[in-house]
Amino acid sequence: MVEFLSFRDGEASQEPSVTVESFTGQSNSTAVRIEAGEDARELLPYLDRLSLVEVNFPAYTDGRGYSAARILREAGYAGELRAVGDVLVDQIVPMRRCGFDSFHPDKPLDDAAVERALHRYADVYQKTVDGRRPVWAKRHPEIVNG
């Protein structure tokens, strides 16, 4: 079983994260935790000094964290983006697509199921922040570069 999953090179951040409120206050911390319903945009002025953003999923059906992640990546955040809380194997792929690159689920994941999920879909329809070329880009390679 996997308790922690990372797609980053090197060590994962060990720093304990602080709340958005204390972070945007006076904290020197470089790790912050966003709760569902908190505005990821509040962190945009501080992206340079952040090395870890944890996004909490209180229930896997609460999809607000997907938008939070994508907003941070769209704004250029390059540090670790970790999904924590009720994260199940069937959510790893969409989470990856929204920019998460590490996972610390409440309940450990089955290694084999993770492997299967990661390789299930060779193609995707949307351009997001994970760098995967959507199907429409593959269909028109002469027009869409990259």
Binding site: D39, Y60, T61, D62, G63, R64, Y66, S67, A68, R70, E74, L88, D90, V93, P94, M95, R97, C98, R116, R120, Y121, A122, D123, V124, Y125, Q126, K127, T128, P134, V135, W136, A137, K138, R139, H140, I143, V144
Partner: protein, 543 residues
């Protein structure tokens, strides 16, 4: 019609295998029902009153003969010989075994069909106009856009766990045959100069709190439509209510924020998103468009129809609509026989309609939100032959948009959410008003029945609507008047205290009597209601 390329096919095939894996994990006890339920729902598999129900997507209501035949095969092989066409232009099978579901999806994948996102809090099947491509007044064909949106919304990673389900509709005519403004987002394609773009409406819907969607943009150009929709969805995903299932649809967000504030937030988000290259290049829409190009119509055909057979002439007048190609017509097939179950079709009927589509309609058919079917490209010279075959199969009812053309959800006979049975009431009403002369005299009269507040039977949008409720364990029916899902969209008003099943049939007869007594020249029921108001109807019913 659109055909999958290897990318589309591999995505659908992968989904089948993923679901097979999930079903195996469930049957082996590795997934609890709580874990499995959202996964099966994302593949359209519900647990209903009597068994599992599988809802199969019919993207923008379009089917080929081969696909229709496959549905007939599923009905025979895995169900009990019939299917139910829904108000979302999908089809449901009521008697599915869990272990069979992956095999059914695998069979569907061979004809480029799936059940992806036919349930769950995600973007559902895109709806469109059943006359798309053949309507005379259309600005452009909405189907290429609908296909583009189908692909974009399939497994959209950010919008898979929205606060609630999300329905999008695309039309391209002034006349609205698809209840566009009762969708979470409605797109109406329009022309500005030489450019095609979309008027956008947001926050429409039925259910517990019905709303007609207000316009939030008068024009989104073709190459910005995806980022604009993503902005709409993102604002909803972040701020839509998650504390109360009944207040979680986008209509509540738009209503609570106010249209102007919702628009402002969408525009702010859109300004950030439109520079991210999210929209496919124009060449992608150009790639899709030829799939929907005009089929090879024969030229120089006659517009003559031999109306010698009176029953046939009656059917032609009611069920056949104008096609933009000379010599051709659009045929509406009623799935509303007198005393029948609205939207149900037997496997034999499904096969017959597949054959008719193949031989007489250039291999194409459509499903309408009123639970009927359409053969979009029929030579006028073939109408009589088609009518005879339909008549033999009990499919030649001539009641399009008349009181007998009742929309009804499955209700408490099948659905675990329902409070009352919709179908027996639809049957009684269609029998009460069975006379063709009487129906014709009453004219356009859209009667819509829902068995619960979720409004799958579109009761708010009925000229006459009926809502089934549970009154201390007994079925009770509320009556609504004055709704419309068309371009003159409006929401029906409740007449007053509810009725028993027989009581509501009598009440509707009184309502139609008032209409007949009060109508001015050329007025439909809805027009008379709008002119004279609720009072005379109320007096007749309760007085």
């Amino acid at each position: 019609m659109y055909r999958y390329d290897s990318y589309d096919q591999s995505i659908v095939d992968a989904r089948v295998e993923e679901f097979r894996d999930q079903v195996q994990r469930r049957l082996a006890g590795h997934l609890t029902e709580d874990q499995f339920k959202p996964l099966r729902l994302m593949n359209g598999l519900y647990l209903q009153l009597h068994a599992y129900m599988l809802r199969i997507a019919i993207p923008y209501g379009t089917l080929s003969a081969r696909q229709m035949r496959k549905l007939g095969e599923v009905a025979r092989k895995y169900d009990r010989g019939y299917g139910h066409f829904t108000t979302r232009t999908n089809i449901q099978f009521n008697w599915i075994k869990l272990a069979d579901a992956p095999d059914i999806l695998a069979e569907l994948a061979t004809v480029e069909m799936h059940a992806i996102q036919t349930s769950g809090n995600c973007i559902r099947n895109i709806s469109s106009d059943q006359y798309a491509g053949v309507a005379a007044d259309e600005v452009t064909d909405p189907r290429p856009w609908a296909e583009l949106l189908r692909q974009w919304s399939t497994f959209h990673p950010e919008f898979t766990y929205l606060p609630r389900k999300f329905k999008i509709c695309v039309i391209a005519t002034a006349e609205d045959r698809s209840a566009m403004r009762l969708h979470d987002i409605g797109l109406k394609l329009v022309k500005r100069g030489d450019e095609i773009g979309a008027e956008v409406y947001a926050g429409g819907g039925m259910g517990r709190t019905p709303m007609v969607g207000p316009q939030i943009r008068d024009f989104v150009p073709e190459d910005e439509v995806i980022p604009y929709l993503e902005a709409c969805l993102r604002v909803y995903n972040r701020y839509g209510r998650r504390d109360n299932k009944f207040k979680a649809r986008i209509k509540i967000l738009v209503h609570e924020l106010g249209v102007e504030e919702y628009k402002r937030q969408v525009e702010e988000e859109f300004a950030q998103m439109k520079v991210l290259g999210l929209n496919p290049p124009r060449e992608e829409l150009d790639r899709i468009r030829p799939f929907f190009a005009n089929p090879a119509y024969e030229q120089g055909l006659s517009d003559e129809i031999d109306r010698g057979d009176p029953a046939f002439a009656l059917w032609v007048d009611r069920q056949v609509a104008t096609h933009r190609q000379p010599g051709y017509a659009i045929v509406n097939i009623s799935l509303k026989p007198v005393g029948g179950i609205p939207g149900d079709a037997s496997a034999d009927q499904i096969d017959l309609i597949a054959d008719l589509a193949e031989h007489y309609s250039l291999d194409e058919l459509r499903v309408t939100h009123a639970q009927n079917l359409v053969l979009p490209h029929v030579k006028k010279a073939d109408l009589y032959a088609i009518w005879q075959k339909l008549d033999e199969a009990g499919l030649a009812e001539a009641n399009l948009d008349l009181i007998g053309d009742i929309i009804a959800c499955p209700g408490l006979d099948y659905c675990s959410l329902a409070n009352a049975r919709s179908i027996p009431l639809a049957q009684k009403l269609s029998e009460r008003f069975a006379s063709p002369d009487r129906q014709k005299d009453l004219g356009e009269l859209k009667l819509k029945i829902s068995g619960c507040i979720n409004a799958c039977g579109h009761h708010h949008a009925g000229h006459i609507g009926i809502l089934g409720v549970d009154r201390k364990g007994v079925e009770n029916f509320q009556l609504l008047l004055g709704g419309s899902g068309a371009e003159d969209a409006s929401l029906g008003q409740i007449t007053g205290p509810g009725f028993s099943e027989d009581g509501v049939v009598d009440a509707i007869e009184k309502v139609t009597d008032i209409y007949l007594a009060e109508r001015a020249q050329g007025e439909r029921f809805l027009d008379t209601y709008r002119r004279i108001g609720m009072k005379p109807f109320k007096e007749a019913i309760y007085g």
